[in-house]
């Protein structure tokens, strides 16, 4: 029985490696050469920035800001239980002095009255008055534990 043997294939792996390496080297070399031939031009242009001052329009201030405010005149608050001045009854007139005895001899000019008897000056300190405020209703009561 004739047997035909398949011819052995030549081992070309070394050749493949050589071709691949050569192609890679040519690619890298070509890229490097081209890069060296044509360097990128870096042109740094100074930016032109024009800063313009903002336009401020001077407007006149509103009158309510410049004019002096008008202070409201508040009515005097009077506590409720203090009667108004016109409601205070005038003090009762002093009883008429009894007529002098006709037989009394005329006296010598009397000495000036003592200083303590002088009427109080008109500008005396205002009198203090007690104003009672009603107590609020209690919200709770504390006592022995219920």
């Amino acid at each position: 029985m004739n047997q035909t043997r398949k011819p052995m294939r030549a081992d070309v792996s070394g050749l493949k490696w050589a071709i691949s390496t050569a192609a890679l080297a040519a690619t890298i070399g070509g890229w490097g050469w081209l890069t060296a031939q044509n360097p990128p031009e870096v042109a740094i242009a100074a930016p032109q920035i024009a800063v313009q001052p903002p336009a401020v329009e001077r407007q006149p201030l509103p009158p309510w800001l410049t004019d002096d405010p008008m202070l409201p005149v508040l009515p005097t608050v009077v506590p409720l239980n203090i009667p108004a001045r016109d409601q205070v009854a005038a003090p009762p007139p002093a009883p008429a002095a009894p007529p002098r005895a006709p037989a009394a001899p005329p006296r010598a000019p009397a000495a000036p009255p003592p200083a303590s008897a002088a009427p109080p000056p008109a500008s005396a300190a205002p009198a203090l008055r007690e104003v009672t405020i009603p107590a609020p209703a209690p919200a709770a009561r504390t006592r022995s534990s219920r």
């Binding site: 405020i133 209690p138 709770a140 504390t142 006592r143 022995s144 534990s145």
Partner: protein, 313 residues
């Protein structure tokens, strides 16, 4: 202003909320549920409460307890420390001996419990707590009672919780906790009751925050084997306290402190109590002697309503 009253923890609880919102109803309901839940845990008169379960295990070593009982007990022990042992949670057995063995509503002023000789209350420092395992060990023969301490602690807690939304006042049977000033920033007017006259008060306090408590021997009294007893135990004797005071009212930064201080003053009596109170920061007191004399600390006028003012005519 809205308020709701109900019965819990052996007292009439009144909650006042300074708000007109309709949502405040849910706040009342939440507070009621909290009080009920805490009562089930902390009451000495409910046989299945956590406190009674712990009391039944006295002398049997460390017992693990729930979070609420743990916190209430720590609070009571802190008050015992602050009062140098005069206000202690270890008075349960002494109260039972004195005849206070059920809810005061059911006592009808008379107790038929066996009369036994009182003995000094065990030292509160014998209670051993392990915070890591949350266990408590109480010695044999000791019975805990958190009574007023738990009530004040719960009232403070509720005032603080509701106070996040509304200005709140919690009145726990006459002991009052405040969350802060009212809506308009004004203080709460609180009347101090006169134990001799039901209607007119002794003073009108104006408080923005903190608490005020009154302890007294004029209420929660009962006849036990022909002898009048009351609920305030002197731990030094184990007997209901013998004091020259009828009531003591204290204003303090918290309701718990006020309640502890009022009890201490009542136990110590007028003279020693006033000396003790003078050493406490930020507290003021108003005491009523048995003979009717009213004693005020100098700083109590700062909290009282000033009924008159001077004005220029």
């Amino acid at each position: 202003m809205q308020q709701r009253s109900f019965w819990a923890m052996g007292s009439t609880i009144t909650i006042v909320i300074d708000s007109d919102e309709a949502n405040a109803r849910s706040a009342f309901a939440g507070a009621y549920q909290t009080l009920r839940a805490y009562e089930r845990i902390l009451s000495r008169f409910q046989p299945h409460s956590d406190l009674n379960a712990l009391n039944r295990c006295a002398g049997r070593g460390p017992q693990r307890v729930g979070q609420t009982l743990w916190r209430a007990l720590q609070h009571a022990l802190w008050m015992a420390y602050r009062s140098d042992g005069l206000v202690t949670p270890a008075v349960g057995e002494a109260l039972h001996t004195a005849g206070y063995d059920r809810d005061f509503r059911h006592m009808a002023g008379i107790s038929a419990a066996d009369l036994r000789t009182p003995s000094p209350v065990p030292d509160w420092r014998l209670i051993q707590c392990d915070p890591r395992r949350r266990t408590v060990a109480i010695p044999a023969g000791m019975r805990l009672d958190l009574g007023g301490s738990a009530k004040g602690w719960t009232a403070t807690l509720i005032a603080r919780r509701l106070g996040r939304r509304y200005p709140t006042l919690v009145d726990a049977g006459g002991d009052i906790a405040l969350s802060g000033p009212r809506r308009d920033g004004s203080p709460w007017p609180i009347e101090v009751a006169d134990p001799f006259h039901p209607d007119p008060g002794l003073a009108l306090l104006m408080l923005r925050r903190g608490g005020v408590a009154t302890s007294g021997v004029d209420y929660r009294r009962w006849l036990h084997r022909g002898k009048w007893q009351h609920h305030l135990i002197d731990p030094r004797t184990g007997d209901p306290v013998r004091t020259d005071l009828l009531t003591a009212t204290v204003i303090a930064p918290t309701l718990s402190l006020a309640e502890m201080a009022a009890k201490v003053i009542l136990i110590l009596g007028a003279e020693s109590g006033l000396h003790w109170l003078a050493d406490q920061p930020n507290m003021a007191g108003l005491l009523v002697h048995r003979d009717g004399q009213i004693i005020r600390t100098p700083n109590v006028d700062r909290y009282c309503w000033q009924s008159s003012m001077s004005a220029n005519r």
